[in-house]
């Protein structure tokens, strides 16, 4: 076990701040398959983190474990120093927002109504019955989320009338409406064209500048190169973690993807180019 820890955390991260979301030697079982096998990583507020790795590396599973949606079979996840299990469902849902890979926005619903669903679910009695009435603060949070994602101008449209990119931004607004401390996204740029994908990253960047902690599962390594902090998963373990310069090396990527790649620097950004 010590060997494993050593392998997954090659470098002790500098002291983690008190308000971080931290995975410590996390194991998650997906059925009989160990999807996540001893992952340690720290995610901070105000930092754009991306989780990358080949298909089946355990990225989505890890994300759901960080949210407390997947039971952890070993190790623990802590939020602000407290184990996730010690937070109540309500507290947890206010701190950690989730944007699923394909969020099921009901077709006939108006954008504003969908975004409003992101508000306050955790405050309910038994999680099911609304306790507090809708307040001006709720209204303001919904407005702010609409403004920050540029979805305000079609707040009255129905979801079925939106393009893929508009839909994703509405889903992002829904997640932001809770005013969370961390936003965890599962492949938010999936099915989006390049312009929309960059849009999403730009919106996330703005939120990060405002103090939000972002943890995004990304497939596109060149998008991931725009993150502050990368965690490269492979076979349920951390292959490498750190800044894009530390993680996006031909050696690490070959170990993870079994591909020979060139990594070049363009302006101040890294580009990953697979070799034939």
């Amino acid at each position: 076990m010590t060997d494993l820890l050593h392998h997954t955390a090659p470098r002790q991260p500098e002291a983690t701040p008190r308000d971080a979301l931290v995975a410590r030697d996390v194991h998650v079982q997906a059925g009989s398959f160990p999807a996540v096998r001893g992952v340690s990583a720290a995610f901070r507020p105000g930092v754009f983190s991306a989780v990358i790795g080949p298909n089946g590396a355990g990225k989505s599973t890890l994300l759901r474990a960080l949210l407390g949606l997947n039971p952890v079979t070993g190790g623990e996840v802590t939020l602000a120093g407290r184990p996730l299990g010690a937070w109540s469902r309500a507290q947890r849902s206010r701190q950690l927002a989730y944007l699923a890979q394909s969020e099921g926005l009901p077709d006939g619903a108006r954008v504003r109504d969908v975004v409003a669903l992101g508000r306050g679910a955790g405050d309910w009695r038994f999680g099911l019955l609304p306790r507090t009435p809708w307040t001006p603060a709720d209204e303001a949070a919904v407005d702010a989320a609409l403004d920050r994602t540029d979805t305000r101008r079609f707040e009255d449209r129905r979801v079925s009338e939106l393009s893929g990119g508009e839909r994703q931004r509405a889903a992002l607004a829904r997640a932001l409406a809770a005013e969370p401390r961390f936003l965890l996204l599962d492949e938010p740029t999936n099915h989006l064209d390049l312009a929309y994908a960059l849009d999403v990253v730009r919106y996330l960047r703005c939120e990060v500048a405002g103090g939000l902690g972002v943890v995004a599962v990304l497939h596109d390594l060149n998008l991931a190169a725009r993150a502050d902090h990368l965690v490269l998963l492979c076979g349920g373990r951390v292959q490498a973690s750190g800044t894009p310069h530390e993680v996006l090396t031909p050696e690490h990527l070959h170990a993870a993807y079994g591909l020979h790649v060139n990594v070049v620097q363009h302006a101040d950004r890294l580009l990953v180019i697979p070799q034939d």
Binding site: R89, E103, D107, A109, R110, L117, A121
Partner: protein, 334 residues
């Protein structure tokens, strides 16, 4: 800055008013038409005299003793089945779910038939119906389940299988209890003909409790439409929501089926019509479905009484079959 001409669909307030008027019209027509035709004005007069406890006159006795219990039962059953249908569709995020297609209605019918054939007190019929409804829905769900999920097609297939098996059991019981065969056979086809005030009062708490609980869950159901994981991330305990909603819907379904039998497709058609007109939010969907469902079933019963179709269950199934096919095609295209 205000966006121009927002498309909100029909206003909910106006819709409520229109549907309430529709329900009232159906009740008045349903009460007035029959072997003796009573004009709407007279029906309203009779209703007013009854409600204000004045002396009854003329046709008032027909209105109050014969026609009205049947019509009120129809409205109650239509409302219950529609609310349950809307709730089932929301809980399983499955546009084809309804009490009939999930086997809950057939389950209720079996319990009710057992009670009728065994000659149990009439008030025990819905209790027996509730027990078998819960068994039926448990069977359907355990057959359909894949891990934490209920894949749409599997759910409906499981419901149809459970429903068929239970209907076969019901038929076997009917054939054994021959002396009551006519009554029970009419019952399995859905019939409002035997409803009296006592039955209405027995069913009322089932409908009120079941539908009331579902209405309270409206916002949680809305949140669930974002997806199960998203709902859980927003703090909704999805398993608990499913359990409570299914029990509440089974309660209302058992009440609805207990005295009038299986009336198919109402719970499927009505919520879809409301969704098309007013959007998918359950806070409007469920109450408006209750109004439209009540009106629709009273209308269908009227059609059954005045045409050779003879039973309300036959009318709704004839209407619902094509609607179901249309829905299937629409889902495939989406």
């Amino acid at each position: 800055m205000q966006a121009a001409a927002p498309r909100r669909g029909l206003g909910v307030g106006l819709g409520t008013l229109l549907l309430a008027a529709l329900l009232l019209a159906a009740v008045v027509l349903g009460t007035g038409l029959g072997s003796v035709t009573i004009p709407p004005g007279e029906v309203l007069g009779a209703l007013w005299r009854g409600v204000t406890r004045q002396a009854l006159e003329g046709n008032d006795v027909i209105v109050w003793q014969i026609r009205l219990p049947r019509v009120v039962m129809g409205a109650l059953v239509g409302a219950s089945l529609s609310v349950c249908g809307g709730a089932f569709q929301g809980v399983f995020r499955n546009p084809l779910a309804d009490p009939y297609l999930l086997g809950v209605a057939s389950g209720s019918a079996l319990g009710a038939t057992v009670a009728i054939v065994a000659g149990w007190p009439r008030a025990l019929i819905p209790v027996s119906a509730l027990l078998t409804a819960l068994v039926a829905v448990a069977c359907t769900l355990s057959l359909a389940r894949e891990g934490r999920r209920f894949p749409p097609t599997r759910l409906i297939l499981a419901g149809v299988v459970v429903g068929s098996v239970l209907s076969a059991a019901t038929t076997a019981l009917i054939l054994r209890g021959e002396d009551r065969a006519r009554q029970v056979l009419a019952y399995t086809l859905g019939d409002l003909g035997f409803s009296g005030w006592r039955d209405v009062l027995t069913v009322l708490p089932y409908a009120a409790l079941g539908c009331g609980a579902l209405l309270l869950l409206a916002r949680a159901l809305d949140t669930l439409q974002l997806g199960e994981l998203t709902a859980r991330s927003l703090g909704v305990p999805v398993e608990r929501l499913r359990l409570i909603a299914v029990i509440a819907a089974s309660l209302a379904t058992a009440g609805a089926v207990a005295y009038v039998g299986v009336i198919g497709f109402v719970g499927l058609i009505v919520p879809h019509m409301i969704r098309l007109a007013f959007g998918p939010g359950h806070r409007t969907l469920l109450p408006l479905s209750a109004l439209l469902g009540g009106a629709l079933l009273v209308g269908a019963d009227l059609l059954a009484r005045t045409t050779p179709l003879s039973q309300v269950g036959i009318v709704t199934t004839l209407l619902g079959g094509p609607f179901f096919l249309w829905l299937l095609r629409k889902e495939r295209h989406d």
